[in-house]
């Protein structure tokens, strides 16, 4: 029903556009017109479409609430004697009856009657919606097209509508972020009601499984997030150790040394690395790199576990090479040619020029590339889950298995979980801390970039 109505509104808008455009075009002959014909058309189309669409949306959202409360009010007094849960069940039964779903009947005497009321109300509402929306749209068409005159400033209306549109778009983006942060905050508060904040932040033991057993104390020392965060940092550190030098060196090669033909082929190939799904990296890490690391370690007489932070970190490093290399290449290429020439003219060699002139000039961008890569590494889940393990192990030794924040969030939310259970809620607390970590990282990055910004100009 609604979809046909939507199509009808679009149709009215479209015809409004052409009516407006044609009428305005007719005015152009001989006279100077304030706005171009397409602006008149657009203005009419917006008037036909937007209010009607807004009304339609409001109707669709509010209809169930209004109808349900009307139906509820029509019910006999015994309904209101029911307890909260029973009342909800009764309402569900009525709506099931109305939709023709026959389930277990509790035999409420008034259910049939209420269901038929619900059906008729729904129908009435649908018809009313069609009539109201159509009237709004069509009358807007009539009123708006009557205003097409040579000196009517249609351009300004369209401009205003566009301003509102871009404002709303950015508002959606900002509000979504705010909403996500708020949801993280509130769920985390619930978690911190059950597990003290200091225990979560400074506890050295992470074992959320204990909490499930009701006979034990809900969270006795099992929610210390330190090992989880240390694991995250350890793996991210290994990853940066791998990706930093390789990415930077390849960026320098592509930007300064490679001849254009090599660059045209090799750079997209490297960027292809970023397109590989992380789960593929994951089994590459688990099946190839982890055993290799273990064998290598054993042959050197080191105790390497089957799953190790080192294996996961190496593969994660390979994964983030293209981030560093591609971004760093862009900023190095953006360093003005005049600085290179200035350095060459002083008799500097190419490598001296890169070291002393180009790197310092490109530093803000390079730092940005690194931080992007780090936040990517911190947020990565699949590789760690497959190659580094699930055990929260507090260690700085990359040869042992560790786990990360993201992996623990996944573990917490897998399976049937109640949202008042600390294990499930711990996901939000972890998410919140992770969010703050990346936030601090970003602030740090901005500070560095600001400090060195506009150094060449």
């Amino acid at each position: 029903m609604t979809i046909y109505l939507l199509a009808a509104i679009l149709l009215v808008s479209l015809s409004g556009f052409y009516i407006g455009k044609n009428r305005a075009s007719a005015l152009v002959v001989g006279a100077r017109i304030q706005s171009l014909p397409q602006y008149h058309g657009l203005r009419i189309a917006l008037w036909c479409g937007l209010p009607a669409l807004f009304l339609l949306g409001l109707w669709v959202v509010l209809e169930p609430f209004v109808i349900q409360s009307l139906v509820r009010n029509s019910l006999p007094p015994e309904f209101f004697n029911l307890s909260g849960d029973e009342a909800i069940l009764a309402m569900m039964e009525i709506s099931n009856l109305a939709q023709g779903i026959v389930g277990t009947q509790s035999g409420l005497p008034y259910a049939e009657q209420a269901a038929s009321l619900l059906i008729s109300m729904n129908q009435l509402s649908d018809y009313a919606m069609i009539v109201v929306v159509s009237v709004v749209s069509l009358s807007a068409l009539v009123v708006a097209q009557s205003k097409v005159t040579a000196d009517f400033p249609a351009l300004e209306s369209v401009e205003k509508a566009f301003n509102v549109f871009i404002f709303l778009s950015s508002a959606v983006a900002v509000l979504t972020t705010v909403a996500i942060v708020l949801s993280l905050l509130f769920e985390s508060f619930k978690f911190f009601e059950q597990v003290p904040l200091h225990e979560f932040l400074f506890g050295l033991k992470w074992n959320p499984q204990i909490a499930i057993r009701a006979d034990q104390g809900a969270s006795t020392g099992a929610f210390g997030a330190v090992p989880v965060f240390s694991g995250t940092l350890l793996i991210a550190f290994v990853a940066i150790l791998v990706a930093g030098p390789i990415g930077l060196a390849s960026a320098v090669y592509f930007a300064e040394y490679a001849n254009p033909r090599v660059r045209d082929v090799a750079k997209p190939t490297l960027e292809l690395l970023a397109g590989i799904p992380t789960v593929v990296y994951g089994f590459f890490a688990a099946l190839t790199v982890a055993p290799l690391v273990r064998e290598l370690g054993l042959s050197l007489g080191l105790a390497v576990e089957a799953r190790s932070a080192l294996a996961a970190g190496i593969v994660m490093g390979i994964m983030i090479i293209p981030f560093i290399s591609s971004l760093a290449d862009d900023v190095i290429t953006a360093v003005p040619q005049s600085l290179r020439e200035g350095s060459y003219a002083m008799g500097a060699t190419q490598s001296e020029t890169i070291k002393y002139v180009i790197f310092p000039a490109a530093l803000p961008g390079i730092v940005g590339a690194f931080l992007l890569a780090i936040s990517r590494a911190i947020g990565e889940t699949m590789i760690v889950a497959m190659a580094a393990g699930l055990n929260a192990n507090l260690t700085a030794n990359p040869l042992e298995n560790v786990t990360t924040v993201t992996v623990q969030i996944v573990v917490a939310l897998i399976g049937d979980q109640e949202f008042d259970d600390p294990k499930t809620l711990s996901a939000f607390a972890l998410g919140l801390i992770l969010f703050f970590m990346t936030l601090i990282l970003n602030v740090f990055a901005l500070m560095i970039v600001k400090r060195y910004r506009e150094q060449y100009e």
Binding site: P336, S338, L339, R340, E341, G342, S343, Y344, A345, M346, G347, A348, T349, E352, Y356, V357, P360, A361, Y452, E454, Q455, Y456, E457
Partner: protein, 288 residues
């Protein structure tokens, strides 16, 4: 003073460049005083190609000791290309080929075992747009001495920096903020900084590619004074679009046109009494 040899004196080597064929004019020969006695830099038969396109045709030109040579001509005539031959900056341009003989103190710079690093330490360059490095004023000047290993202990470097800044007439203005970013200086100060940077490695020749084109008249006047001072110690070649600037700072002027060297002469003489029709047209502003 510089000694300018009359063309007859070098008759055995009397080079008159023959222009092969150029759209507007046939067979114009370089006239005037291309050669000097004991040249600092001497160029014989220099041609430059960018890919298939020839940018310079058989240029013969000397740079005398303690002389300022102005290179003038309409845009795209090859004066900057010629300038960049002298410190081999054209090497950095892909597909650029330089033919002919370029000698500094008799040593061929394009020779296979000529070292471009030591060449560029002998031939400094100042660019059209000031291009200080994104470093402090001190580090900008110290850049050359550091990479060439000219400085020993720290205070020796301090002396070099101070001397270069004094020579470039910038010391008074920046002595109290040597360690602030060079990009904070004004355009004219930046350009003098670039000159100081070039002279800090104690070069023999300084090439200037329209050094004042991005500057206001006051900053320009300061640079021109500076160029006149620097002549005591260095050989200078300056590309300029300003006829007045050429007249003010140079002793000899070379006029380029479409890749050809049309006329070289003592500056005063050239501006009052050009020998070639093309030169006269350009100088009097009839085209260019």
């Amino acid at each position: 003073m510089i000694e300018i040899s009359p063309p007859s004196k070098k008759s055995e080597k009397n080079f008159t460049t023959r222009l092969e064929s150029v759209d507007e004019f046939d067979r114009v020969e370089t006239v005037g005083e291309m050669f000097v006695d004991r040249p600092k830099v001497s160029c014989l038969g220099v041609s430059v190609h960018y890919g298939d396109k020839q940018a310079l045709f058989n240029i013969n030109l000397d740079l005398g000791r303690n002389e300022v040579l102005a290179l003038i001509g309409p845009s795209g005539c090859g004066k900057t290309t010629f300038l960049r031959c002298i410190n081999r900056m054209n090497d950095t341009i892909e597909g650029c080929r330089v033919d002919g003989e370029i000698k500094i103190e008799g040593a061929e710079i394009n020779h296979s075992d000529a070292d471009v690093v030591s060449l560029r330490s002998k031939v400094g360059m100042v660019f059209q747009k000031p291009n200080p490095f994104p470093k402090s004023i001190f580090d900008n000047i110290a850049y050359g001495p550091r990479i060439h290993g000219l400085s020993g202990p720290k205070n020796e470097l301090d002396d070099i920096v101070e001397a270069a800044l004094k020579r470039a007439g910038l010391w008074e203005e920046v002595s109290d903020r040597l360690h602030t970013p060079a990009t904070g200086l004004s355009g004219g100060q930046q350009q003098r900084l670039c000159i100081a940077r070039a002279i800090a490695v104690n070069p023999e020749v300084i090439l200037m590619d329209e050094p004042c084109s991005a500057l206001d008249p006051i900053a320009t006047a300061r640079i021109e004074e500076l160029i006149d001072d620097l002549r005591e110690k260095f050989t200078i070649a300056i590309v300029t679009h300003s006829m007045h600037q050429a007249a003010r700072v140079s002793q000899r002027t070379a006029y380029f046109h479409m890749g050809h060297l049309v006329e070289v002469g003592v500056t005063d003489q050239m501006f009052t009494n050009p020998r070639q029709r093309l030169t006269e047209d350009y100088i009097t502003g009839r085209f260019g």
